[in-house]
Amino acid sequence: MRKQLVGFCAVGALLAATGIASAETVKVGVISTFSGGFARWGEQMKRGIEIYQKHHGDSVKGNKIEIVYRDDTGPVPDKARQLAEELILREKVQFIAGFPWSPNALAVADVVTEAKVPTIIWNAATGVITRRSPYFVRTSFTLPQVAYPMGVWAGKNGVKTAITAITEFAPGVDAETFFIKAFKENGGQVLESIRMPLSTTDFSPFFERILNAKPDALFMFGPGGPSSQGIIATWASRLRPAGIKLLATNEIQEIDLVGVGKNGIGAISTGHYTETNDNELNKRMWADMKAMYGEKAIADIAMVATYDGMEMIYRVVEKLGPRAKPEDIMQMMSNMSFPSPRGRLVIDPKERDVVNDVDIRKVDESGGRVTNVAFDKVPSVKDPWKEANPAK
C-alpha cells in the first residue's frame, strides 16, 4: 500500500514535472534599431523572426518562444549595454540576439559573459567581435570575409589598378585594409585610398579626381542607404562611361538598389547572401515575405541572418530543452550547420564565427527587378581577420 502510494506520488511528480517543462517559455531578447534613421535594420530583423515563426510556429515541443524587442536607436553602445542588463536581470531572457552595430555588440560582451547568456550576432561585422565573449556566436558575416575575396577576384580578373574610396568609419577601414591586402597579393596596384566624410552629399568631386587617375576599378565602401546610393549613382554618371569598374561588398543589396535603379547595372560585388539564390528555402522566404508585407518588401542580409539565428535557437530548444546549461548551448551552437536562404549556414567551432560561401555578383535587370546575379563563388571563406590575428 505504502509502496503503491509512493509509486503514485512519483508518477504524479513526474507528470507534474513534464507538465511544467512543456509549458515553459523561452525568452529571446532582441536588441536592434527600431527608430530613427537606421530603423530599417530593426524592421528587417523583426520580419525575419516573423517569417521564421510562420514557417515553424512560435513554440518548440510545447515550449513557447517569446521575443522581447528592445530599441538601441542606432550605434549607441551605452544604450545597448543598458538594454542587455535589463533583459538579463528583469526579463530573465535565455538568449540575446540582434546587433546591427559593431560598437553595440562589443559593448555587451562583458555583460553576457558574466551572466552566461548565449548571444547571437545578427549583423555586426567587425572581425574581432566573437573573440570578445565565449557566449557570442555570429550568423551574419565579417567585413574582411567579403572584402578579401573582392580583392582576390579583381587581381585575377584583369583589374591592374584600383582606387579605394570609403566613407570614413571603422568598418570602412576594415573593408579598405582587406581589399588592399588581397588585391596587392594578387598583383594589383592601389593608386590612391580616399576616405570620404560620412556627411558627404555630393560625391562628384571625389569621382572627378578618380576619373583623372584612370584606374581600372574603384573599390567602394558605404554605410548602406542613401550614402551608398549616392556613390553608386555618381559612379554610373561619371566613371562607368569611362570603363572604370565599380567593386563593392554587401552594401550593394537589392534593398538599396531600389533608390538607385538602372544606375547600379554593371556594379560587381561580393556578398554572402544573394537575393536571387536558387534554393527552395530562399524562394519560400521571399514568397511568404511578399504575402505578409506586400510586394514592395525585399529580403536583405539582416533578414537572412535573423532567420538563421532563429533556426539556431529552435534547434537548441528542440534538442536540449528549454532550460539547458549555457555551456551546452554554446557547444551546440558552435557546431551548427544547416540549410539557409544563403545556401548553408556553417559555424566554425573554434571561433564561433560564421563560415560563408562568398558569391561574386553583378547588378543586372532580372525579371523586372534590378538585383544581384551571382556568377562566381568562393566556397567556405573563414574570417580573414582571424587568420591575420591568431588567438593568443
Binding site: T200, P205, F206, R209, S227, G259
Partner: protein, 288 residues
C-alpha cells in the same frame, strides 16, 4: 583644365541647389528674426510629394511645380497656426518648437514612406549627358545651373525692382519704422514665408539627385542651409546667392584637391570667414 571646369560646374550646380533651398530661410531668419530650424522639412515635403506624383504618372515639371505649391501651403499653414504665437517668445522657444516640428516631419514621412530613400525620377532629356565641347556632362546639372540663374534673376527683379520688394527690404532693415509707415509686416511675412517654403520645396525636388531624399533629410542638411544663411548675412538675398555659390564651389573644389581632409577644409574656411565677418558677407542693415 577639363577637370577644373568640371569641378567648377559641379560646384555651381550644388551651389544653385543650396541657394534655391536656403533663400527662403534667409527671409525667415532675417525678416522676422524667427529661428526656423524646420526649413529643411519643407524642402523634404516638396521632394517626397513630387516623387509620389511622378511615380503616379505626372510629368516632371508639373509635378515639381505642384509639389512646391503644396510645400508653400504647408509652410503657410504652419506659419499661421504654430509659428505666429512665437514671434515674441524669444529664440529658445522658436528653436524648440521648430526642432520639434522637424521631428514631426521626419516621423510623418517615415510612417508614410518608410526609412528608405526616395528617388525623384528624371525625365529622359535630363537624365542623359550633353557634349559641352571637351567632354560629356550630365544634362541634369546644367539644368540646375540654368534654373538657379533664372530664379536668381527673377528674385532680384522682385526684391530690387518691385513695390513688394521695396516693402520687404524696408521691413527687413527696420521692422518698426516699416510698421509706422503703414506696411503690414505680418501679412508681408506670411506671404514671403509661403514663397520661401515653396522655393525650398522646389529645391527639394530638383536637387534630389544631390541631396538624397530620406526622412532625416531635414536634419542632415540643416547645417549646410544654415551655413549659407549665416555666411550670406541674415535677410540678404544677394548675400545668400553669393554664399551658396561660394560654398558649393569651395566644398566641391576641396573634395577634388584634398579628398581626405575635405570636411575639415570646408568648416575651417567657414570658421575663419565668420571670425573675419561675424555678420556674414553682406549683412542686412538691421543686423549690422
Amino acid at each position: 583644365m577639363s577637370s577644373f571646369i568640371t569641378v567648377l560646374l559641379d560646384g555651381l550646380a550644388y551651389g544653385m541647389v543650396l541657394f534655391i533651398i536656403s533663400v527662403g530661410l534667409t527671409v525667415t531668419m532675417g525678416l522676422m528674426r524667427i529661428t526656423n530650424v524646420a526649413h529643411g522639412g519643407f524642402a523634404m515635403v516638396g521632394g517626397y510629394l513630387a516623387a509620389m506624383m511622378i511615380r503616379a504618372g505626372v510629368p516632371f515639371f508639373p509635378a515639381a511645380i505642384l509639389a512646391s505649391v503644396a510645400a508653400g501651403l504647408v509652410g503657410g499653414a504652419v506659419e499661421m497656426t504654430v509659428l505666429r504665437p512665437l514671434y515674441r517668445k524669444g529664440e529658445l522657444a522658436q528653436v524648440l518648437l521648430t526642432f520639434g516640428l522637424t521631428f514631426v516631419f521626419i516621423a510623418g514621412l517615415t510612417l508614410l514612406f518608410g526609412t528608405n530613400s526616395q528617388a525623384v525620377p528624371l525625365p529622359d532629356y535630363l537624365s542623359g549627358s550633353v557634349h559641352i565641347g571637351f567632354r560629356d556632362y550630365p544634362a541634369y546639372r546644367l539644368f540646375l545651373i540654368a534654373t538657379g540663374l533664372v530664379l536668381a534673376v527673377f528674385l532680384w527683379l522682385v526684391v530690387d525692382r518691385s513695390l513688394y520688394g521695396a516693402k520687404l527690404r524696408a521691413a527687413v532693415d527696420n521692422p518698426r519704422i516699416a510698421r509706422a509707415v503703414g506696411i503690414n509686416v505680418n501679412r508681408l511675412f506670411t506671404g514671403t514665408f509661403i514663397a520661401g517654403c515653396g522655393l525650398a520645396g522646389f529645391g527639394g525636388v530638383v536637387g534630389a539627385e544631390l541631396l538624397m531624399l530620406e526622412p532625416f533629410y531635414a536634419l542632415k542638411y540643416l547645417v549646410v542651409f544654415l551655413v549659407v544663411v549665416v555666411v550670406g548675412g541674415l535677410g540678404n538675398f544677394k548675400g545668400s546667392f553669393v554664399a551658396a555659390l561660394a560654398i558649393g564651389i569651395i566644398d566641391t573644389a576641396g573634395k577634388f584637391f584634398f579628398p581626405n581632409i575635405s570636411a575639415y577644409f570646408f568648416f575651417s574656411l567657414v570658421f575663419v570667414l565668420l571670425l573675419w565677418r561675424p555678420n556674414g558677407l553682406m549683412p542686412a542693415k538691421s543686423a549690422a
